[in-house]
Symmetry: C2
Subunit: 355 residues, 2 copies
Amino acid sequence: MAEQITIERAQQLKQKPDENKLGFGQYYTDHMFILEYHADKGWHSGRVVPYQNISLDPAAKVFHYGQTVFEGLKAYRTESGIKLFRPTKNFERLNKSNARLSIPPIDEKLAYEGLIQLLNVDRDWVPSVEGTSLYIRPFIIATEAALGVNPSLSYLFMIIMSPVGAYYAEGVNPVKIHVESHFVRAVAGGVGEAKTAGNYAAGLNAQEEAKEQGYSQVLWLDGVHRKFIEEVGSMNVFFKLNGVVVTPMLNGSILDGITRNSVITLLKHWGVPVEERRVSIDELIEAHHNGTLEEAFGTGTAAVISPIGELSYHGEKYVINGGETGELSAKIYDTITGIQNGKLEDPFGWLVALD
Amino acid sequence: MAEQITIERAQQLKQKPDENKLGFGQYYTDHMFILEYHADKGWHSGRVVPYQNISLDPAAKVFHYGQTVFEGLKAYRTESGIKLFRPTKNFERLNKSNARLSIPPIDEKLAYEGLIQLLNVDRDWVPSVEGTSLYIRPFIIATEAALGVNPSLSYLFMIIMSPVGAYYAEGVNPVKIHVESHFVRAVAGGVGEAKTAGNYAAGLNAQEEAKEQGYSQVLWLDGVHRKFIEEVGSMNVFFKLNGVVVTPMLNGSILDGITRNSVITLLKHWGVPVEERRVSIDELIEAHHNGTLEEAFGTGTAAVISPIGELSYHGEKYVINGGETGELSAKIYDTITGIQNGKLEDPFGWLVALD
């Protein structure tokens, strides 16, 4: 359809925040990308515009029935220019989420082109301090003003961007995790595999309770047997058991994480045995007793690698690797972030240059 | 706190739609109610204002993490004035949903007072044609512009209203229902009991597939055993089995429906045996074979009573009561709608007068 993306530049640019105090998702760049969908026109009117509020009818379906999906990826400032990490994966996954949420598929190339144009306009916002990056949030919301429970006839696809530091206040230091035995995040047959708002809303209660007890996040167990590991917080999770790295297989209720995929690829490249399979909490506890639960870590775009120093389950505490970041966890973190910031070779072709 | 609710009237009123062609949730009244929450001020600034778009930062948490709850209730025009059906139940349930979604509790009296003031301003919108009513949609959305996955620090509570006719095109005629064996709506430990957006988003795929096959809605089975009945579409469900009315017990994954509660109350009042317990699809099929599956119907605010004329499960069709509305289903429908529109006595004190 050769849709033309238009660009409207902000008349006044914001003052950029201190790169040493970015936090996560607190500041937004000067512009955003918008693409509209109407049932009779398809996706249309792609444009880069000044970052601004959006105006919606209070009956818009996103407010009532949660028909929405999102993605998260990052751009990095390297010595050889601005680079994106595996961006096409995100747009592929966005369309998988769309299918699960009854949202019409987006033209992945058009969405990607929108991102490139937006990044080009806001390129000065990609921070350069070590450990920082530009977090990119594409998302789609249902905008039809109608209270019947049906898929919306209109949508907005948007991309907003935020310069970020570390996701966890702890940085890459190990976090303490509460194994959740009451609340459930998702179940087979549900939307756990999709990157959609409801999955995150469902996790807030458990997360708040865990925080009150001094834990950073929860480890989710499956909703059927209440014993198989699913995710940690909003990340995928890995365990090193007697030299073998194990992660829950993709079962329909966990996210097909891009960092997860990158970690598996890296481990195979290194010749480290890695298994995608069911992992039960009982297996982990037995491994802890045997001294073979060597390392544990979460993986996600926001935190990259988040080492787990302690698990709490049914009142018992299980310290992992003396509460320190494991050797392999550190090596994976250093390698992925090294590839991302251009300081290490990129043997997998993960980086895509903006220019 | 004796918060004062202010009223700003619309300068121009909309033309009212034809009361014989209202549909469901297509038209909105001239005004809406807004109440704001900020972590440092609590709920404040309650006001009735002209119905209008709301302006939100694209990073508002409702778009990304689905932190939102809603309610649905109706006002009726009766010969003795405008009446609400059990409205305080809705505000009680809203706060239960709030607790599950980590949203701060609302002052139920203030929210209710907001509704009364709004209804008073828009009282001409309560339709009078038989079968019509004014559908009222209170809802809360998380408005903080921050991408960390945490409860929002700010919210909007709003009430919008829509004059409605029948929810289903079929009216009170029986609908055909597909028993869903692949998709799952909710699971124990999840948010199925809360009236929150994600539950509805999760159901769209199954609903669309059912529609393609000629069914109005799906009958949800539990996510653990995949055999116990949960809900039908977004309604609670009842079965008359050999003279006994059976409905799934409140188990944490189904909604505590106000119409469900009204039906149970009514049946007990009539001396009809009613049981809240687990009901399996196998039990229903066996009852069908035995000729004891006498009636089936969904209950909800939107449709009140929706008779089920046929179930489809694993390719087999099970016609109920010859595909006709059952005698008891019709009696319940006539009684509840008769109480609602003021034509029958209200022995339970369910109606609350606006004036």
